[in-house]
C-alpha cells in the first residue's frame, strides 16, 4: 500500500479524523499510518494531534512507535497537547517490564524538546540510567545530551550520574554510548565534562575489544583527542589499538590509524616508531581498495594530509594511487593530486609514464590537471624535465582545437622555459608550441604566449608580425595579457629596434590611456625609460633564468601546527574540505598547541639535498614574512587548499604579498 503523493484535502483530514476516532482497531492503525505518510511528504497534519495521541492506549508496539514519531515531529508546535502524553511515557518507563518499551519511551521522551516538559523527565531518566538492563542504559545515556541542549540548567545532577557511571559501568556498548553522549555535551557546553584517569582509560581500551563497530569508533575517536602523559602511556594505548587495524569495518581501521599516528609523537623509542609505521601502511593501503567509492574518497582526502606529516608511509607505494579507467572522476582527481605529492627524484619516471596515459582521458578538466601535474613535476625535479617536455610536446603535436588542456599546456610550457630556458631546443619544443600558439583563448595562456614571443623573439619566424597581431587587439585583452604584452613588446623592441619602433609607438598610444592604473603605470615607466636609457630597460625586462622560484612550496602548504590539529580530526568534515575545524565551524575554539616543532616522519634514504634545501629555504621564508604568508595562505585556503592551483608565477604583481622574482617592476 503506497500512501505517497496525495494531498490531504480538508475532506481527507476529516476522514482521517473520523478513522482515528473509530472504534475498530485496524481502522485506527491504518489511519495512523496514513498520517505518517502525509508527514513524510511534508504535509501539515498537526491538527490531528489529539486524536492521534488518543490511539496510544492500545498496547500495540508498531502503532506506538508511529505515534511517538508523530509526537516528536509536532511536540514543539503543540506543547500544551504534548503534556498529555507525559503520563504515558512515565508509565512506560516505570511500570513496563519490557526493556524494549522502557527504552523506546525514554528515547522518545528525550526528543520532545519542550523546555517545560523536561522537568518531568529528570526522575524517570535517572531511573533509566541506573536500570538493570544494559539496553535501557545505553539508550538513557544518550538521552542526557538531548535534555542538555534544551534545558542545561536542570542537568547538573544528570551529569554527575554520568561521571559515576563512567567509573563503574562494565558493559562495553553502554560505555561507548556514554563517551559519545558526554562528548556531545562537551560540544554544546564548550566545557570539559569527561574526567579521565588511568583506570577509565584502561576500561575504554578493554571496551574497544568488546563493543559493536560504531562503539569502537566513538572510543577511538575520543582517544585521538587525548594527550597521553608520557611515552609509556602512549605505548600502552598504541599497543591496545593495533589489533583494530585488522577490523573489517574501514572506519574502525581508519580511526585506529588516527590514534596510532597521533600517539607516535609521544614515543621516545625510534625503532618502535619505525615498526609501527610499517604496520600502519599496509592497512591504510587496503582501505584504498575498499569497494565503496565514497569511503575511498574520504580516505584519499585524508591521505593527502597524512602524507605531509608521514611521507614514510607511502614510500615506494606510488602505484596504489594509479587511476582505474572506470573510477569516478572525484576519485581520479584525488589520486592524481597524491601521486604528484609523493613523486620524488626516484620515481618520477614511473609517475610520468602513468600521467602520459591520462592525457588520453575524455574529461578535459582531468586532462588539464594532468598537464598541470606534469609541468609541476618538470619544474620540481631537474632530472624529470627532459621527459616531461617530451610528453608535453608529443601532446602538442596532436592539438587541433583550442581546448582547455591546450591552455594549460601553454601555461606549463612557459613555466618550464622560465625554469630552464635551454629547453626550447629539446625535441624542437619551441617550434611545436609556437605552431599551436593561436589556440590560446584564456588570459593566462595568452599571456604565456605573449611571454614566449617576447622571450624567444630571435628564434621565432616573424615574431614582430605576431606581436603586431597581438597589439592590434590590445584593447580587447584582459589586463593580465595587456601587462605581459607591454613587457614582451619592449623586450622584442630591444632585440629588433628598427623593425619594432612603429609597433612600440602604437602600443604606447593605445596603452597610455588605459583605464587600468597598473597598465597605465607600466606603460609610462617603459616609455620614460626607453626615451632616457634603453640599457636600463634591458636589465629590467630580460629574463634571468637563474632566479627560479621555489615551486615545491605548496607541497607543504599547511603550517605544521595546523597539520597536527588536522590529523587529530582525521575523517571529519573539515578535513574533507582541507580546512581546520574552527575555520568551518564558528563554535569550535582554536586549539592552541604548545608543541614547537612538529615531527615529520620520513624514510631514511629519502633525505635528499634538494628537499632539505627546499625546507631550509622555506623555514627562512616563514620567519621572514610569516604574517604575509599566513594571509596568503588564508586566501589560498579560501579557494581550495590543496589543489596546486595558481602557483604564484605569473609575472604580474597584482598581489603585493607575493614575492615576485621574475618581474622587477
Amino acid at each position: 500500500m503506497a500512501y505517497f503523493g496525495n494531498n490531504p484535502q480538508r475532506g481527507e483530514l476529516q476522514e482521517l479524523y473520523a478513522d482515528l476516532n473509530d472504534l475498530n482497531f485496524e481502522k485506527k492503525k491504518e489511519a495512523v499510518k496514513k498520517v505518517i505518510a502525509y508527514m513524510t511528504v511534508g504535509k501539515d497534519v498537526s491538527d490531528l494531534f489529539q486524536s492521534v495521541i488518543k490511539c496510544l492506549e492500545f498496547n500495540d508496539i508498531e502503532m506506538k512507535k508511529l505515534i511517538y514519531l508523530y509526537i516528536v515531529n509536532y511536540s514543539r508546535q503543540k506543547p500544551d497537547d504534548a503534556i498529555m502524553v507525559i503520563q504515558n511515557f512515565r508509565k512506560d518507563v516505570r511500570k513496563s517490564e519490557n526493556p524494549l518499551v522502557r527504552a523506546l519511551a525514554i528515547r522518545t521522551f528525550g526528543c520532545l524538546r519542550v523546555p517545560k516538559l523536561n522537568e518531568y523527565l529528570i526522575e524517570p531518566l535517572k531511573d533509566c540510567i541506573l536500570d538493570d538492563d544494559p539496553y535501557v542504559r545505553k539508550t538513557a545515556v544518550l538521552c542526557v545530551p538531548k535534555v542538555y541542549e534544551v534545558s542545561p540548567d536542570i542537568c547538573p545532577p544528570l551529569l554527575e550520574l554520568l561521571q559515576k557511571l563512567l567509573e563503574k559501568e562494565s558493559n562495553a556498548l553502554v560505555l561507548a554510548n556514554l563517551i559519545q553522549s558526554m562528548r556531545e555535551i562537551e560540544v554544546v557546553s564548550g566545557k570539559q565534562i569527561i574526567n579521565l584517569n588511568q583506570k577509565i582509560i584502561q576500561k575504554l581500551l578493554l571496551a574497544v575489544d568488546e563493543c559493536i563497530e560504531w562503539g569502537q569508533i566513538f572510543i577511538l575517536d575520543y582517544l585521538a583527542t587525548y594527550n597521553p602523559q608520557d611515552s609509556k602511556q602512549a605505548e600502552v594505548i598504541i599497543e591496545r589499538t593495533l589489533p583494530r587495524l585488522s577490523h573489517i569495518n574501514p572506519t574502525v581501521t581508519f580511526c585506529a590509524v588516527k590514534v596510532i599516528l597521533k600517539y607516535l609523537d609521544f614515543l621516545d623509542n625510534g625503532d618502535l616508531v619505525k615498526n609501527l609505521c610499517k604496520k600502519v601502511a599496509p592497512s591504510l593501503i587496503s582501505l584504498l581498495s575498499w569497494n565503496q567509492p565514497e569511503v575511498q574518497y574520504t580516505i584519499l582526502r585524508n591521505i593527502s594530509l597524512i602524507l605531509q606529516k608521514f611521507p614514510i608511509l607511502f614510500e615506494n607505494e606510488v602505484k596504489v594511487f594509479f587511476c582505474s579507467f572506470n573510477e569516478p572522476y572525484y576519485i581520479k582527481y584525488e589520486k592524481l593530486d597524491i601521486m604528484v605529492r609523493i613523486c620524488d627524484s626516484k620515481n618520477f619516471g614511473q609517475v610520468l609514464n602513468e600521467l602520459l596515459i591520462y592525457l588520453n582521458e575524455a574529461d578535459p578538466h582531468f586532462v588539464r590537471k594532468t598537464i598541470k601535474s606534469i609541468g609541476k613535476i618538470a619544474i620540481t625535479y631537474d632530472k624529470a624535465i627532459d621527459k616531461a617536455v617530451s610528453i608535453l610536446v608529443e601532446f602538442a603535436k596532436n592539438v587541433q582545437q583550442p581546448t582547455e588542456p591546450v591552455q594549460e599546456l601553454l601555461i606549463q610550457m612557459q613555466l618550464i622555459y622560465k625554469k630552464n630556458k635551454s629547453m626550447y631546443k629539446h625535441e624542437d619544443s619551441l617550434k611545436i608550441i609556437y605552431s599551436i600558439i593561436d589556440y590560446a583563448n584564456e588570459p593566462e595562456s595568452k599571456s604565456a604566449c605573449a611571454w614566449i614571443v617576447g622571450e624567444f623573439g630571435e628564434f621565432i619566424p616573424k615574431s614582430a608580425e605576431k606581436m603586431k597581431e597581438y597589439i592590434d587587439n590590445f584593447q580587447m585583452e584582459d589586463r593580465l595579457v595587456q601587462l605581459q604584452l607591454l613587457t614582451s613588446a619592449v623586450q622584442l623592441y630591444l632585440k629588433y629596434p628598427s623593425q619594432c619602433s612603429i609597433l612600440i609607438q602604437q602600443l604606447i598610444t593605445s596603452a597610455k590611456d588605459s583605464f587600468n592604473p597598473d597598465v597605465r603605470d607600466r606603460t609610462y615607466i617603459y616609455w620614460r625609460l626607453l626615451s632616457t636609457d634603453p640599457e636600463i630597460v634591458k636589465t629590467l625586462v630580460c629574463f634571468n633564468s637563474g632566479a627560479v622560484q621555489n615551486f615545491s612550496k605548496d607541497l607543504r602548504l599547511w603550517e605544521t601546527q595546523d597539520l597536527v590539529v588536522a590529523l587529530e580530526n582525521m575523517g571529519s568534515i573539515s578535513n574533507l574540505f582541507h580546512k581546520l575545524p574552527h575555520q568551518l565551524y564558528k563554535n569550535i575554539k582554536i586549539k592552541i598547541n604548545n608543541q614547537q616543532d612538529v615531527k615529520i616522519y620520513k624514510g631514511e634514504e629519502k633525505q635528499e639535498k634538494q628537499e632539505n634545501q627546499v625546507q631550509a629555504q622555506q623555514s627562512e621564508n616563514q620567519q621572514n614574512n610569516k604574517q604575509e604568508q599566513q594571509q596568503q595562505q588564508q586566501q589560498q585556503q579560501d579557494i581550495d587548499l590543496l589543489s596546486f592551483d595558481d602557483p604564484p608565477v605569473n609575472n604580474i604583481s597584482n598581489n603585493s604579498n607575493k614575492p615576485n622574482l621574475f618581474e622587477l617592476i
Binding site: Y3, F4, K33, I36, A37, T40, V41, G42, N59, D60, I61, L66, L69, N73, R76, P99, L100, R107, G110, D133, Y135, K138, C143, N171, A172, Q180, E184, D209, I212, W214, F218, R240, P243, S246, H247, I248, N249, P250, F254, C255, P282, S286, S289, P293, V295, Y297, T298, I299, F322, F325, P328, N353, N360, E361, A362, Q401, N569, G571, S572, I573
Partner: protein, 431 residues
C-alpha cells in the same frame, strides 16, 4: 552528530524523512533535493556543503540515501553507516532496495531508523540482530509478554558476542568454507604489469550447535614461521606473504595481533570471516597479448591472444573478454578458433565469450573493424581491454587453508567442506 536521514528518489522527491536533531529544517533538505539530486550533481562528490549544512550521501541505483549534519562529524563513519543502513533494508526486503519497496515498507523503515540511530549517533545496526525485535507488522504478543526472553534478547544485543544467539541446536553439524579471490591487474600497452593484487575473501556458512570456538589456519608465512617444526616433517610450502588482513567482528583481534592466530565464535549461518590483500608472487591465470593496427582511414584491426597459465587439469569457466571498439564502428568481422565473439554496440566493444577454457592453452581472436563516417574529429580514446573469468580450485595468491579446528562442550565432530575459486576483478590491459 547526524541531524537527519533522508531517502530521496532520482527526481528529488523525499521518500523517507527522519529527523534526529532539531538543528535542521525541511526546507534545507528540499533545497538539496532540488539543487543537487534533481540536477544529478550528486554524482560528482559524496559530500556537499550548503550554507553550513553538510550533505553526506550515497547513491544506490536511483535512490539517494542522505545524512545531514551541522557539526564536524566523522564522514567515513557516516558513509559507512549509510551503507550499513541500506544493507539492513535489503536484508528485510529480500535483497531489494528501490522506490517501490521503500514506499511499500515505509512503516518498517521508520521503525528501523528509530532503532539504528539515536540522537544522530549510530546504534545497533546488525540485520540479523534487528530482525529479532523489529518485524513487519509488529512483534508477536507472545514475545512482548515473555520478559525472560526479552531480557535474553537485550543482553545478547548489548553483550560481547552480540552476533550469536545462545542455545542453537543442529542435528548435523556442518561448516562450509569458500575461498574467493579476485585478481586485479593493470597491464601497460607493452604488457608490463603496472599493478597487480589479489583481493581475497573467506566466506563461511556455519551450521553448528552451541557456542563453538573455532581456530582457523592458512599457509600464512608469518604464522608458519612461528610454529615449531615437528621432527621428521619436511614441508616444501613455506607459506605466502599476506599484505593485510581484515576480520569479521567475531574474530579476537588482540589474539591475532599477538600470536597471529585466528580464533572466533562464529555467527550462525553465512558470514564473511575475513578479507585479505596480497601483492607478492601472484600467479596471474591469464596473459593477454593484443595487437592494434590501423589499416586505413576507416579500417582497424585488433588481434588478441590469450594464454592460460595454470595447470592442464584445471579449467577456467565463463570467460568474457571485452575488446573496446570506437563509437562509429559500422561492422566487425571476427575470427577465432574457440568461443564466440560478437560486436555489442551498447557495450561499445566486441565481447568474446568462451564457456570453458583449459589450462596452459593459447587462443587467438582477430577482429576487423570497419568504421562509419563521423563528424567527430576527436581521436578515439581507447579504453583498456577487460576480462572476466572464473577458475575453480585455483588461488592466484597460492593461499591454502590448513585447518579449521572446532571446540565445543558437546564434543561433536562437524563435517567440513572447502572450495577455492579465483575470479577476475579489474583485469585490464591497456590498448
Amino acid at each position: 552528530m547526524i541531524s537527519s536521514i533522508v531517502f530521496i528518489n532520482h527526481k528529488g522527491e523525499i521518500l523517507i524523512y527522519r529527523v534526529y536533531k532539531d538543528d535542521i529544517t525541511r526546507s534545507e533538505t528540499t533545497q538539496f533535493c532540488a539543487k543537487i539530486v534533481a540536477t544529478k550533481e550528486n554524482k560528482e562528490c559524496p559530500i556537499i556543503n550548503i550554507d553550513g549544512t553538510s550533505f553526506i550521501h550515497i547513491t544506490i541505483k536511483d535512490i539517494v540515501v542522505l545524512a545531514t549534519t551541522k557539526v564536524n562529524v566523522n564522514v567515513a563513519m557516516t558513509l559507512q553507516f549509510l551503507y550499513q543502513l541500506v544493507k539492513v533494508c535489503r536484508a528485510y526486503f529480500g535483497g531489494e532496495f528501490d522506490e517501490n519497496c521503500i514506499k511499500k515498507h515505509f512503516v518498517l523503515i521508520y521503525e528501523i531508523l528509530d532503532e539504528v540511530m539515536d540522537y544522530g549517533v549510530p546504534q545497533i545496526a546488525d540485520a540479523d540482530l534487528l530482525k529479532k525485535y523489529i518485524q513487519e507488522g509488529g512483534l508477536k504478543p507472545e514475545l512482548m509478554n515473555d520478559v525472560e526472553k526479552l531480557k535474553q534478547l537485550t543482553s545478547q544485543a548489548t553483550g560481547a558476542t552480540s552476533w550469536r544467539p545462545p542455545n542453537l541446536v543442529y542435528r548435523k553439524n556442518e561448516v562450509y568454507l569458500d575461498v574467493i579471490e579476485s585478481v586485479n591487474v593493470l597491464m601497460s600497452v607493452k604488457g608490463t604489469i603496472l599493478k597487480a593484487d589479489v583481493a581475497g575473501s573467506i566466506q563461511v556458512k556455519c551450521l553448528l550447535s552451541g557456542m563453538p570456538e573455532c581456530k582457523f589456519g592458512m599457509n600464512d608465512k608469518l604464522l608458519m614461521q612461528r610454529e615449531p617444526r615437528k621432527p621428521g616433517q619436511t614441508t616444501t610450502d613455506k607459506g605466502i606473504t599476506i599484505d593485510d588482513l581484515k576480520f569479521h567482528q567475531c574474530v579476537k583481534l588482540p589474539k591475532f595481533d599477538k600470536e597471529r592466530a585466528i580464533t572466533f565464535i562464529p555467527p550462525d549461518g553465512q558470514f564473511e570471516l575475513m578479507t585479505y590483500r596480497i601483492t607478492e608472487n601472484i600467479n596471474l591465470p591469464f596473459k593477454i597479448m593484443p595487437v592494434y593496427n590501423e589499416l586505413g582511414k576507416n579500417k582497424l584491426e585488433i588481434r588478441v591472444k590469450i594464454k592460460s597459465i595454470f595447470e592442464k587439469n584445471l579449467f577456467a569457466t565463463n570467460l568474457a573478454i571485452k575488446i573496446p571498439v570506437p563509437k562509429n564502428t559500422a561492422n566487425v568481422n571476427t575470427n577465432s578458433a574457440i568461443g564466440k565473439a560478437k560486436h555489442e554496440p551498447d557495450q561499445q566493444g566486441v565481447i568474446w565469450r568462451i564457456k570453458k577454457y583449459p589450462g596452459d592453452f593459447e587462443a587467438l581472436l582477430r577482429c576487423e573493424i570497419d568504421l562509419g563516417q563521423t563528424t567527430n574529429q576527436q581521436p578515439w580514446i581507447k579504453p583498456p581491454i577487460s576480462m572476466e573469468f572464473q577458475v575453480p580450485m585455483f588461488t592466484a595468491s597460492g593461499l591454502r587453508v590448513r585447518f579449521l579446528r572446532i571446540y565445543e562442550k558437546a564434543g561433536y565432530k562437524p563435517t567440513k567442506w572447502i572450495r577455492y575459486i579465483t575470479k577476475a576483478g579489474e583485469y585490464l590491459h591497456r590498448l
